[in-house]
């Protein structure tokens, strides 16, 4: 829990600063939009956090979002498939992609970076090939289905919660329970900390890794569906580009270690929220858009450095107290 204090502080600092500079930031309309974007990006970030906890990486998320998003619109509007058949196909495809990644990484012992980098290229190419590189959209049809991305549920007279938030909430609760309250979750964390030790302890590490990659791709597929429904216009060559980096950044900001073995679902969601609030704040405060990457990079770096310095300061003080013999030396854990 202590690990997310820093990122939570950064989130609150950006939030309060922006709200003070422009009160429109906390208007119901803006908060609803913000919640929707955090939900969409949060879902894919939770997915990649499972892979990161195993000490792996998935660079194919953005392209998989492009493929599933394009396929979703293409199957529904060009091929005339039914909604259930399309959803099942797209989700099964995502699971299969994750299974393929997992098998290549565990059975063939290929590096996750290489496997998913090839996936990044492959899925983008397939998306462009299948759709003939043409933009896909739903037009004015499938309004009911689109409600799962753009719909809102009113709470009170002037505020509504976007439907994707509830999807994120469900995924986050299930993920948190799985990670923290099940044997599988403990095995996952153990595998990330020391794979060899976990294997010698009798854990089937390959199976857990495969499951983590499948979960990651499945959530990327869910993200692809929601992004395409939200935007109503999918460019096969562009949808989801760089989203893997947003997802990985959010997961790492939220406390996941790229070395594996660490991470919390709440932290990942807060990490996502920091990224989206920064993007939103730049527009709300009328900062030129060509400065956005520079500002986001600088703010996040400043936040991470401050967090690290604060941790070191606290550790030094603890060490000094221990040397002075005020307290008995605690165990290293």
């Amino acid at each position: 829990m202590k690990k997310i204090f820093g990122i939570l502080g950064l989130f609150l600092a950006v939030f309060v600063f922006t709200a003070l500079r422009n009160p429109q930031f906390v208007s119901a309309y803006n908060l609803e939009n913000l919640i929707r974007w955090i939900s969409l990006f949060g879902i894919i970030s939770i997915g990649v956090s499972f892979v990161i906890i195993t000490g792996g990486i998935d660079l194919s998320i953005g392209s998989l979002i492009g493929l599933t998003g394009s396929l979703m619109a293409w199957l529904l509007t060009h091929r005339g498939w039914s909604v259930p058949a399309t959803l099942v196909t797209v989700l099964l495809l995502s699971l299969s992609v994750g299974l393929a990644h997992g098998l290549l990484i565990t059975r063939l012992r290929l590096q996750p970076f290489v496997v998913t980098l090839c996936g990044l290229l492959l899925y983008r190419g397939i998306a462009r090939f299948i759709t003939d590189d043409q933009s896909q959209g739903f037009g004015n049809s499938h309004e009911g289905l689109r409600a799962i991305a753009i719909g809102k549920i009113p709470v009170g007279s002037s505020f509504s919660i976007p439907v994707p938030f509830f999807i994120l909430l469900l995924i986050a609760i299930v993920s948190a329970v799985v990670l923290n309250r099940t044997i599988w979750g403990r095995y996952l964390l153990a595998l990330g900390r020391n794979e060899t030790a976990a294997r010698y302890s009798g854990i089937n590490t390959d199976r857990i890794k495969i499951a983590a990659y499948m979960l990651c791709s499945l959530l990327a597929g869910v993200g692809g569906i929601l992004f395409s429904l939200d935007l109503n216009s999918v460019q096969p060559s562009g949808l989801g580009e760089f989203y893997e980096l947003y997802a990985i950044a959010a997961a790492v900001l939220g406390g996941c270690s790229l070395r594996g073995g660490e991470g919390t679902i709440l932290g990942v969601i807060i990490g996502t929220a920091v990224m989206r609030v920064l993007y939103n704040a730049i527009n709300i405060l009328s900062i030129p858009t060509h400065l956005e990457f520079a500002i986001i990079g600088a703010v996040i770096l400043a936040g991470v450095v401050t967090d690290e310095l604060a941790k070191r300061y606290a550790a030094n003080r603890r060490a000094v107290r221990e040397r002075l013999g005020e307290t008995p030396a605690p165990s290293s854990s």
Partner: protein, 353 residues
């Protein structure tokens, strides 16, 4: 033995993948190259290079295909998915393998001069859609983007005659056409005198520009990320409750403004002015949710580019316009002419099939 078998399996798999990639499906491969009808023996081969992948270019390609048939020439269409880097790669490949003529929409007119000159030294080179006046291109096929911007500004004035706050949206501002378009809208709304397109002064971004009736809040860019395009429109409405008009300078911008306005329940309350002829925009104009759009008639970009290159590859320079600029007139689409315009557009697109 095992490693030999492994190598064999990898070789076979690679062959299979390549075979799938080279199947006879008549669709463009993933590199963005559209082989068109394929080279016929003895026919000249030219290339039509766009600045990205967008439905806007499909209409231009319809013009390319129609001219291909009419003039008996083969034209390869290349759509760089990643802007400048891919465009450079594609142009270099064309020059390396040999091509008889190139029509290109440069992504960065000022900084691509050397590359464009390299191409111009090897084959006839013309620009379309966005010009590179400092290069040795033979002519430019397109509209005057500054004038088109002023026309869009006039649509804004018609949409909100009492004045108000206006926000502009665009994919990227590095391109000369987007800079000129933006400046045209700004100058028209601020009642400034007409500037020359090729020597126009550009107002800096990030600065509120106010005139007697209209205030231009800013120009928001999205780098062709559709999610950003939509979020930019949402954020503009969120931070300015009195926003009166949104102007999309690229084809996909206004459709996302439309989506954002629809979700916010502000359809018709916030006026939308667009460029180009995306289907949601034309439907929006008919429904009264978009005030109007400026069509560049991209069909003629494709058609005239191929027509000119056909003559130039045969050494006939008489087709070149005297000042090096072949102007394709813009069409202002409003509710009264939207249906006729859309029907004509569909006819042109069908002609290219």
């Amino acid at each position: 033995m095992k490693s030999f078998l492994r190598m064999g399996a990898a070789f076979l798999l690679t062959l299979t993948v390549l075979q799938i990639g080279c199947g006879d499906k008549s669709t463009p491969p993933a590199t963005g190259a559209d082989p068109g009808t394929g080279p016929k023996s003895g026919r000249k081969k030219i290339a039509y290079v766009t600045n990205g992948v967008d439905p806007f270019w499909n209409t231009a390609v319809a013009g390319v295909r129609a001219a291909e048939k009419e003039f008996g020439i083969d034209c390869e269409v290349l759509m760089p998915p990643k802007g400048l880097v891919d465009q450079k790669r594609m142009l270099e490949s064309l020059l390396a393998r040999g091509i008889d003529g190139i029509a290109i929409s440069p992504v960065d007119a000022k900084n691509q001069v050397d590359l464009l000159n390299q191409a111009a030294a090897r084959c006839p080179l013309i620009t379309h859609d966005s010009d590179a006046p400092l290069s040795k291109r033979l002519c430019f096929v397109g509209m005057e983007n500054y004038k088109a911007g002023r026309a869009a500004g006039r649509l804004v004035k018609e949409a909100i005659p009492a004045g108000g706050k206006v926000m502009l949206f665009v994919g990227r501002l590095e391109q000369l056409n987007s800079q000129q378009r933006r400046q045209g809208v700004i100058d028209e709304l601020l009642d400034r005198p007409m500037q020359q397109s090729d020597s126009a002064n550009f107002d800096p971004t990030g600065k509120v520009l106010s005139g007697a009736k209209y205030t231009i809040l800013d120009t928001r860019t999205d780098n062709f990320d559709y999610a950003r395009a939509k979020a930019n429109a949402q954020d503009a409405m969120a931070s300015n409750s009195d926003l009166a008009c949104m102007v999309g300078l690229f084809a996909y911008n206004a459709p996302h403004c439309l989506e954002a306005a629809k979700e916010a329940g502000r359809l018709g309350k916030i006026k939308i002015v667009s460029f180009d002829e995306a289907a949601p925009v034309l439907q929006g104009i008919i429904d009264g949710h978009v005030y109007g759009t400026i069509s560049q008639q991209p069909y003629f970009y494709g058609y005239h580019s191929v027509r000119l290159l056909h003559s130039l590859t045969k050494g006939d320079k008489s087709v070149l316009p005297p000042n090096g600029f072949l102007e394709v007139p813009i069409v202002e689409v409003r509710q009264k002419n939207a249906q006729t315009f859309w029907a004509d557009l569909k006819k042109m697109q069908d002609m290219g099939k």
